[in-house]
């Protein structure tokens, strides 16, 4: 399928349209909103569902060399993308080193909802994809944070960053134990342990209604993104805005090159490329408030959630699919 066909099909999916509804409602200042308790729970539900399903796939296929290689590729990307992003931002914008490092961390890490949207698009084309990619997503969450910390420290007079006296180790531990990582990895392991028999037991909860719940969550993300855009737009200079769209494209290209020799399926390649191209909006922002509190959240949150996420959801994913048709098996 051509990119245009993929894109137009993607744009009329209920998922994308519910995101657009949320965005529109927030920009029009509607009071529509999802309570925090429910948004938090839906996010956990999504982790549980995709973790479990991924684990069941691995239970079926076993641990393979491909799986380990792709995980390694993922960790590498998560370390490297922030470095590239950091120097790119410093070169084109007037952002401080701290702000640039904080933004870069988001792009090295991943967004689970973008991941899910890619798997749905892949499924919609009838393509299979490797179940272990959930584990790849999990290992890509945190290395980017370490990368960004090192960048920020290098740029800062010693003693100023991490003045809190918290070691980077303590921070990484905290991030590694954050709710979404634990839920994703834990459900993955449980899915692995219980296999298809376990899945059969809870499929009516985690499989059947999954897409509908995803629509509700995308509506919520649209609302939050729209509100963020209204508040945060003035914090985004044009070069930073451009970064929010060009960086995912660049990461996608790097990811495509990196997995070219590994032999992922087309669906798997599309999902992996999407992971690389996606930017975190839950785990990394919270980590940045602790690790680099001087970095302005209005910039990185707005960029990740208000620019990159909608771009990936609407145009990025079809593009990565088209790209994957070239690099996947």
């Amino acid at each position: 399928m051509s990119f245009l066909e993929l894109a137009s099909q993607n744009l009329v999916s209920p998922m994308v349209l519910f995101f657009a509804l949320g965005l529109t409602a927030a920009l029009a200042r509607s009071d529509l909103s999802i309570p925090e308790a429910v948004a938090k729970t839906i996010a956990l539900y999504l982790m549980m569902a995709i973790g479990f399903k991924g684990g069941v796939e691995v239970a079926k296929s076993g641990i393979t060399a491909l799986m380990l290689l792709v995980m390694l590729a993922g960790v590498l990307l998560s370390f490297i993308i922030p470095v590239i992003g950091f120097f790119a931002l410093r070169a084109v914008s007037r952002l401080s080193a701290i702000d640039a490092a904080a933004i870069a961390a988001h792009y090295g890490s991943i967004s689970i909802v973008t991941f899910v949207a890619a798997t749905e698009a892949v499924r919609g084309l009838g393509l299979p994809f490797e179940g272990f990619l959930v584990a790849v997503a999990a290992v890509m969450e945190t290395p980017a944070i370490l990368s960004a910390l090192l960048l920020a420290r290098r740029a800062q007079p010693p003693g100023q960053v991490q003045g809190e006296g918290e070691s980077a180790g303590a921070l990484i531990r905290e991030v590694g134990l954050n709710a979404s990582v634990v839920m994703l990895v834990g459900s993955f392991l449980i899915g692995w342990a219980t296999g298809p028999k376990g899945l059969a037991m809870i499929a009516p909860f985690i499989v059947d209604p999954f897409r509908g719940v995803l629509c509700l969550f995308l509506l919520d993300m649209g609302l939050v993104a729209g509100r963020g855009m209204r508040e945060g737009a003035r914090h985004l200079a044009p070069p930073v805005l451009a970064f929010g769209i060009l960086m995912p494209l660049f990461s996608a290209a790097v990811a495509a090159l990196l997995i070219l020799p590994l032999g992922l399926s087309v669906g798997g390649a599309a999902v992996f490329i999407t992971l690389a191209a996606s930017a975190s909006y839950i785990a990394v922002p919270a980590a940045m408030r602790l690790a680099l509190p001087e970095a302005k959240p209005a910039i990185y949150l707005t960029l990740s959630l208000g620019v990159t996420f909608p771009f990936n959801l609407a145009l990025g994913i079809p593009l990565y699919l088209a790209l994957a048709q070239r690099v996947g098996l």
Partner: protein, 104 residues
């Protein structure tokens, strides 16, 4: 008449990701307790915030109230203040009367 004792009520509004850092500092300062109240939304110099729809901690605020002995208040404030110098939030102090002095 009920016999009351003067204490300080410290009220801190702070971004949620830094909550543990705050409670650690309160514990270090030897406060006898604190209470955490949810916050829906707010506005400050950095603009408007709202917890609605948020799946993560970043961008959310919480309120922490601690009743402390006047003798300890300065130390507590000192520690809270150095935290707030880097994190988003505010702190206020006021006089309150309590009944059981030994509890605080």
């Amino acid at each position: 008449m009920v016999q009351t004792h003067l204490k300080k009520r410290i009220e801190i509004i702070l971004e949620a990701p830094a909550l543990h850092r705050l409670t650690d500092r309160l514990n270090q300062a030897g406060v006898t307790g604190y209470t955490i109240v949810p916050v829906l939304a707010g506005r400050g110099q950095d603009g408007t915030w709202s917890a609605e729809g948020l799946a993560g901690d970043a961008g959310r605020l919480v309120m922490v109230i601690s009743i402390v002995d006047a003798a300890k208040a300065d130390d507590v404030l000192d520690r809270v203040y150095t935290l707030l110098a880097r994190q988003i939030g505010i702190v206020t102090v006021s006089d309150v009367q309590v009944i059981r002095a030994d509890h605080f």
